[in-house]
Symmetry: C2
Subunit: 450 residues, 2 copies
């Protein structure tokens, strides 16, 4: 049997494990699933006869080396900074490796050794990065083959709530790490290129400078710019492109309301608030308002962010119970961001039957025979339940498919790789369609940047 | 003769040196002025017979120790982080020391040794910190002696342009380090306490949340909050005070216009701009605007910051030549903040005859016999010329006066000190009046926080 070691059995590993277990008979696979929590690993193996669950500590070098030596291929679903020790052992024991994370410098440094040992180290093969690369390169390569020249590439992705579970005023719930949602956009200006000019958007403008995105069959969304779009120029070979933008998708209206938290300083994670534990939610809001009369916190809030109470946006804040003078924060030495996360979690946590939704949308502008054209490509994936979420499917399935294809000798290019070559992306995109992950491509009139 | 060593002959040392040289005959003083630039040191000694100029490198331990050993008292006008080596040598050779800087942790750690050797290490005795401490403690102590209880302390200071030299639309010129002006307010939320509630203002709100300040005889100003007002509670013994705020003074209208730079991201110092050297000023502005049609940068700018071109604020931006398509940035690998500083420097540099102005304003709220009262205290100091600036006078004279009083045994409390004791501040404030630095105190109706 071919042995696969999967390290990390968390949320994004469910569909990955399911796929490989389902294939294990036909493909003669044995899967070892290691996680710090043996219970979690056992839950994911579900007593499958071709699977083994183990308690696994990545920092236990002896155990790590024993398990990697036993495997034919290793999948690391750990946080990105933890891959490197696994990768070094994979070199030492000559095992292929797959991750869904961005290639770190340390990982890139192993390229020559991986090549020398004829090992495939496939990275960035989850959703974003992963499906974005593959679905973009498919169209970019097609355009080039026709003799077209890329002049614009805009690419958007969002982890959202499915329409059937979308029942709050923000049209948003936490389908992924809440902390990352609260801190989104912090840590540096967003950078992109628009019709040949660099553009920089600071955090305080980010949620104001949204664009409208219409997704066929799913209605209106909005997008805001991601941190550094410029690095995709070299990855995709788009060095002389005029417009290049990557962004995050939210339902329309989310960003304007979110911007109120940004402007007031409620997303700040850089200092702790005195006596945070005892504060009521209303006390917390008052920390950021100019006037200090407890009687009219709601009016002061509206006035400070330039909102009238007949604005539909007002419902969003009311719904969060942000002005409660009975609910208390209950977190010691908390930052503004941590408190906001707590308040939001009470409103934005998925109900047991809620489903998540992934939306990805690309716009490709190109010129061919002197004519400017545009292709839009959209993918919407809805989760099955809270184990086989859209996130778990879109992150895990490409990893699983790639792993099996490496074992089967269908992906052979050695070294530290990402899935931008046709030999890799075409069969994977095709197989993903069987799981409801398919891109709908449409020719549209060229509209220029959004 | 009593020997004083002054380390650092920069802008803020002019009045300090002048005072001590003027007193040198009567007080039997010999002054050594050391600076990295011998020329600068010589210029400041002006061939005075009781002075000696030397090239002095703080990192040359041998020279430093020789010169400190020769002195009776050492004044360090170096940047704050450079004092500590001097201070350690002052302990070793048993010399008094004076600085105008905040007491660092490293300095505070020398307290016991300074006391054991009966040495006065006087710090925070310039303008801010310095004159602020002294003028505030004078009133706070008087209020307490009358049996009053402090309920509010607000204190504002600004380095500005004198009315007779105030001839631009911003009513502002660089009278001090331009870089600090461009980066003002960055690096963390402003923190203060207002009627018993903590208040936090993030950078993106700071220049919106100004208060009006009327200074008798000088018209209207505005203030914005300084970084951390809360630390003054323990220094001034105001631990149960209801309102405590420190702020920076600008002329009315400055902050609203400055906020446009903040909102657009033009004060960001965290990344460098590609090809910054070749950009025209207009190109630079366009980096931060959503739309990209070079023809109407000015209109786009107005629209983005929510300004109509009939707004008087518009004149401020026009005056800077911010939209020039002929002037180029000319700085390699520059950050947005560095480019903005360059553009501003062209407009905001002092003309040869321009004079600067320091404004300090305190508001003391207190309760006595059940009645709430308020005292306002204001000080305005105008520079003599560009050597004996208001900044040089207000920073340097208290240092000089304190140094002489230490030598004369009139300030004797040993250890690491700041000038909050009556024995220190009363005679110094009195002598400062001879140099035009005097506080006008007025009883006003209690108005609460501004």
């Amino acid at each position: 049997m071919r042995k696969i070691l999967i390290i990390g059995a968390g949320r994004s590993a469910s569909s990955l494990i399911q796929y490989l277990l389902n294939q294990s008979e036909a493909e003669n696979l044995h899967i070892t699933i290691g996680d710090l929590s043996l219970e979690l690993a056992q839950k994911k193996t579900a007593h499958h006869k071709n699977a083994r669950a183990i308690a696994f500590d990545i920092f236990n070098a002896i155990q790590r080396q024993i398990e990697i030596e036993r495997a034919d291929l290793v999948i690391s679903m750990l946080p990105a900074h933890m891959h490197i020790e696994v990768a070094k052992d994979c070199i030492a024991y000559k095992k292929h490796m797959v991750t869904a994370s961005y290639i770190s410098e340390a990982m890139q440094e192993l390229d020559a050794e991986a090549k020398a040992n004829n090992l495939v180290f496939m990275n960035e093969i989850g959703l974003d990065p992963g499906i974005d690369h593959m679905s973009a390169m498919k169209i970019i390569d097609e355009i080039r083959e026709q003799g077209g020249k890329m002049i614009m590439f805009e690419s958007f992705c969002g982890g959202l709530i499915a329409p059937e579970s979308d029942n709050n005023a923000w049209n948003y719930k936490f389908t992924w790490a809440p902390r990352n949602v609260v801190l989104a956009g912090q840590g540096g200006a967003a950078k992109f290129i628009q019709e040949g000019t660099y553009k920089y958007i600071p955090y305080q403008q980010l949620f104001k400078r949204t664009d409208i995105l219409k997704v066929e069959g799913y209605g209106n969304f909005e997008t805001y710019a991601n941190r550094d779009s410029l690095k995709y120029r070299s990855v995709y070979g788009l060095n002389d492109i005029q417009t290049l933008l990557r962004g995050t998708i939210r339902r329309s209206g989310y960003s304007k309301a979110w911007d109120a938290f940004v402007q007031l300083g409620m997303t700040d994670d850089s200092y702790v608030i005195d006596n945070s534990e005892q504060l009521t939610y209303q006390d917390y809001v008052r920390l950021f308002l100019p006037i200090d009369t407890p009687e009219n916190t709601e009016k002061q809030f509206c006035q400070t962010i330039g909102l009238t109470q007949n604005d539909t946006m007002w419902i969003k804040f009311q719904e969060l119970d942000l002005f409660s003078n009975s609910k208390t924060v209950g977190l010691k030495n908390a930052t503004p961001a941590q408190i906001l996360e707590k308040i939001l979690t009470e409103s934005w946590t998925l109900a047991p039957d809620d489903k998540d939704m992934i939306v990805m949308y690309h716009k490709f502008g190109y010129e061919i025979d002197g004519v400017k054209k545009q292709i839009d490509s959209q993918m919407v994936c809805i989760g099955h339940d809270q184990t086989y979420t859209a996130m778990a499917k879109t992150v895990g399935l490409p990893v699983a498919i790639a792993a099996l294809r490496i074992l089967n000798g269908q992906i052979t290019n050695p070294g530290v790789q990402l899935p931008i070559n046709k030999e890799v992306y075409i069969p994977i995109l095709k197989e993903l369609e069987n799981f409801g992950i398919h891109f709908k491509e449409t020719e549209v009139p060229f509209k220029g940047y959004s």
